[in-house]
Amino acid sequence: MIKYILIFLVLIGMAWLFFPLVVEFFTPDITNNLAANYVFGSAADLNMPNAVTAVVVTYRGLDTLGEVTVLFLATAGVGFFLKRKKHMEGIRRPGSEILKTGSEILAPLIIIFGIYIFTHGHLTPGGGFPGGVVMASAFLLLLMANENFGFSHGIINLTETISGIGYVLIGITGLVLLGLNHFLDPRWLGLGQWGRLFSAGAVPLIYSFIGLKVGAEMSGLLDSLQSDGGEQ
């Protein structure tokens, strides 16, 4: 009982802690200096319409690298916890015929859509993360539809490794070509024409790697989760 009172008090207390934050909050009319610099720089320095992508991939690229790593880490962790003894057959219920046929048609389309999303990340909303997830959803669809669907781990692993290392190598390329302070600088590749697919330097390339990596990681994650997690 005391515990419930304490919990209640704690929740009230946290609300009380948040209260001044709300009181002092107002929605401003202008963006702050940093944001303005980002928006301007995104267009001026990087030739990129999507300022969020500019921030995510370039200015704060290290965060994103970390983010991809977190995802990789989670996948590895989940895989580590739920590692299978053997590939267990016949645990999944077979999907219906409609699902089966539908998935065979839909999956490639979804994958293409995913690729579209992450390659156009610098131009339109979206980018590597949603794109990767969309690709993974195709995988999910196949997984649900097909009882014997064994996605080759080799391919997932290979994609993961190549895209991950590719991402880091692009970062290092910046270092090598442009100098000490240019890790993840995409400008060693031509900035191209405004609004085109091949513009903004290496950003589309980076986002493709991110997309592929995220897709592979998510697929791996789902794969580990659907397996029955080796019994003790």
Binding site: K3, L6, I7, V10, G13, M14, L17, F18, P20, L21, V23, E24, F25, N32, N33, L34, A35, N37, G41, D45, T58, Y59, R60, G61, L62, D63, L65, G66, T69, V70, F72, L73, A74, A76, G77, G79, F80, K83, N157, L158, E160, T161, G164, I165, V168, G171, I172, G174, L175, L178, G179, L180, N181, H182, F183, L184, D185, P186, R187, Q232
Partner: protein, 1050 residues
Amino acid sequence: MVNPLYLIAVFLIGAFLVPFVDRADRRLSLGVMYFSLLYTASLSLMRLWQLFFTNGNETQVFTAGFQPPLSIALSFGFKEALLTFLVNLTGFLSGVYLAKKLGKSGVQSISILLLLMLGANGLILTRDIFNGFVFLEILSIATYALIGLKSKKNALAAGFKYMMAGGLASALLLIGIAFAYRYSGTLNLDTWGRLLIPMTLGYKIALFMIIMAFVIELKPFPANGWALDVYQSAHSGVSSLIASVHTGAVLYFFYKLLPLMPYEFLPLLAGTGLVSFLLSNLTALRQKNAARLLGYSSTAQTGLLMFVLTGLYRYNVHPSLVLFIAGGLFFTNFIAKSGLFWLAGIIKEKTTEKWSILRKQPLLLVLFGVFILALTGLPPFPAFFAKWEIIQILAQQGGWVALTAILLGSLLEAAYLLRWFGLAVRQNSDEPETASLPYLKLIPPLIGTILLFALSLFMGSQLYVLSEFMYFPLLALLVFSILDCCPLKLKGLLLVAAIGLWGWFSVWPRLMGIGQLFGLVLIGGALVQVFGFLHHKGREAGLIPLLAMLIFSLGNLLTASTKLDFFLTWEFMTLSSYLLIMRGKSSHKAALSYILFSLGGAYLILTGLSLMPPFSPGMAFYLQSGFHSIGLVSTILLGIGFLIKTGALGVHVWLPDAYAEAENEFTSVLSSVLSKAGVFGLLLVLVMAKDVLAANNLLLDALSWLGVFTAFFGALMAVFQEDVKKLLAYSSMSQLGYIILGFALMSHLGWVSGLYLTFTHLFFKALIFMAIAGVILRTGTRNMYEMGGLIKKMPISYISVLMGIIAVSGVPPLSGFGSKWFIYTSLIEQGHYFQAGLAFFASAIAFLYLYRLIHTVFLGQPKPSQQNVKEAPFWLIIPQAIFIMVIMGISLFPNYITKPISSAVSIFIEKPDWLSWTGYNITLNSPVLHGNWNGNLVMLVTMGVFGFPLLWLLLINARTQKVKQFNIVFAAERPYKPWTTHFAHNMFAHYNKALGWLITPRITAFWNGVTEWSHSLAAAFSHIYTGNGQTYLLHIFMYILVIFIVGGIR
């Protein structure tokens, strides 16, 4: 410069590559891991090299080719380079340690380990708060995942609790960052630090949430139940990573955030750190599980570090000094803690009780000892210097609450760590042999030890002006450890030679006045007794090195010049004597109580020293002390500190057990030499405290009564002992009481008497102890009622003891008479009649126990079981012979000693005109008292008084009948009686009826009460850890809110 981004890139590529190459071979992926860890460590090392040898001021690196705050900046200066080097090296060692486990548990674990290192490196390097968040998440998630390396239910449960706590912390951090960004408009720490942002409540709360997130990650008491569970149940390699790498990186980021915080947060954080330090250590007292114990210790140390980083700014401490202190504490803890976790994994025993199997593994034992002693803050480890600095600052600037908390916490920490050490060293014959050691797992702790020593030397030598001979004790320890495989006698003789040469050529020329006197006592006295140790048959591993360390530090005590020199040496002395006591058969409890009292005393001394003005290097400490004058507080602290070493009444509890349980020969050193170090200290205090004492009669009165009572009760307690060593221990205590009494008079004659007794006590007490050591060696018992009639078997020992007790009792003609004469004379001269009376009564009591000593051991009927007892071994006779000669010499010609003493004392207290030395005669003609003492004459007269009757007796009883010892008629006792009815058992029962109430162990009961009380307090505290993850979460919430409210943030 070395680009820090390569650190990150290497880890990332490694982690991404591992799952792929693993398809070929597991060994390949392990190879990738080792390569990455070693490569990054060497990058950091290169950076360190660069910073030292090429001057590059540029430490910041940006990403993406833009200046911060647009881009994320990384900093790779000295601190970061050092830290990443250590972190990566530890990572590598952990990798080696975990090799087998990682190899078995799947490729993911290798990637995860690499990413954990990535997180730690990133957190250390980054200068961007959100980037810090990302790396913190990487670090945390990797840690969560690695906890699952041990797939036990408890480990998983602990991991989940950790995830809950960590999840909450990162949520707070993220909310805090979001709102803080709102106010600051930047995420870059440097830009942010330059901004002047109005401290509104909202902004403060945002900052509060940020800093609290890190505080929670640092596992403060009491919001740390989850962390303790993790430490306890995770694989020891992972626990070690959490305690060192994880905590280190988080702490460093915490440190980076501090400049952003409003000033009012700092005392708050300092307070939480202190509370965490003190209470974690307290709670740990009752902990039996080794890994959990380490967990408590780890959280405590982190608390202390938090205090150092946030609390010291108030005392106008230069930031570099703060960093130095934090660094000292941090590195010690970093290495020692991971080392201990590694050892815990090798031992595989959960409870500390079972660690005695370590005894069979000398290498492990040494490593274990090094780590434990480093954590305790003993020299030469960096934590010692750090603590020294902290106490200096706090004492000088009046931070008494913090100072008390830190010293108390340190003492508690020492208590449980050293208890553990004692359990490990304890001799237990029924332990099974352990299986062969996993050699691979031994590498990491071994390298850790080497690193620890390297850092110690670096810190000690680079940053302090220590006299060059300060490291002699350590050097001696090292050299004789290397020689430790030689036969004992060779080592011993080498030691004698080394000390002789060193003492004669190096120490003696530096000494003058009382320094020479104490030089003779401390070095000479110890040197002679080294021979006594050499009778052992075996190699006696560790004995000679420790003895060497002890004697060298005793010598250094005299030549030390600065305060730090002095204290360092004092701690060396304490440390080596503690380890020597540990060599006793069942001494671990006694040794624990010895070291705890010694450390307590040392902390008091440390505080007292801190209050004193600085001493200049070059001139010996004891000589400089004549020019200084200290205050009241300092006097009391230093006084109590040194009195503990002498074993004065009230703080004598450690003494009987330590004396009884130490090895017989070492007891002799303890009593005759080591206690004199305390006397030396006390003398210095009295010298420096002259002004205070002149103003405060009470202090001297208290001291003199303390001396008298120590003498009285010591003697009384000695009477009722069955154990011969305890009897002698109490006798020692009693004698030291006389010494204290003499000093407390603060008169020329009083000091002369005290010093004279100091001198003679060495000889007669060492003589008796050495003789008794032989007896115990031959009879195999310490109980006097199990001995008897040994006069025939061990005549030389008998003569030694006889000489000894004549000297102790203070009857003419031997030297003890002189000391008593001095004491009574000076007491009466100053009109201290009551003290004189009681002291005289104590001397009378001394006859009782001395009679018991010689009678029950050497006279009467021999025990049948001791038919074949032989004389003590030759090596034990050597010191006895030397001491007998010295005693005879002093007794015949006391003026050769008393005159130099008088002139040494006259430097401090002028010799009154009425005291004079002429030839063999000492004359005093004070207004109140007249008298003289001629040692030579006394000797001759006494010889005459005894000689003539003896001759006469021999003449008239020319044809006596020799009686065998077993002749019942003459021996007046029956053999084979049960010992309880033997007269030697409970010999003075009748006195006990009359006086027994005086010696009911009230003081021991008091100290036992202190122990019990703190243990039950610890139990009460530990019950907040219910083991429920949600309760822990609730603790965290409440902790945050309470701090918010207590801090009065508005």
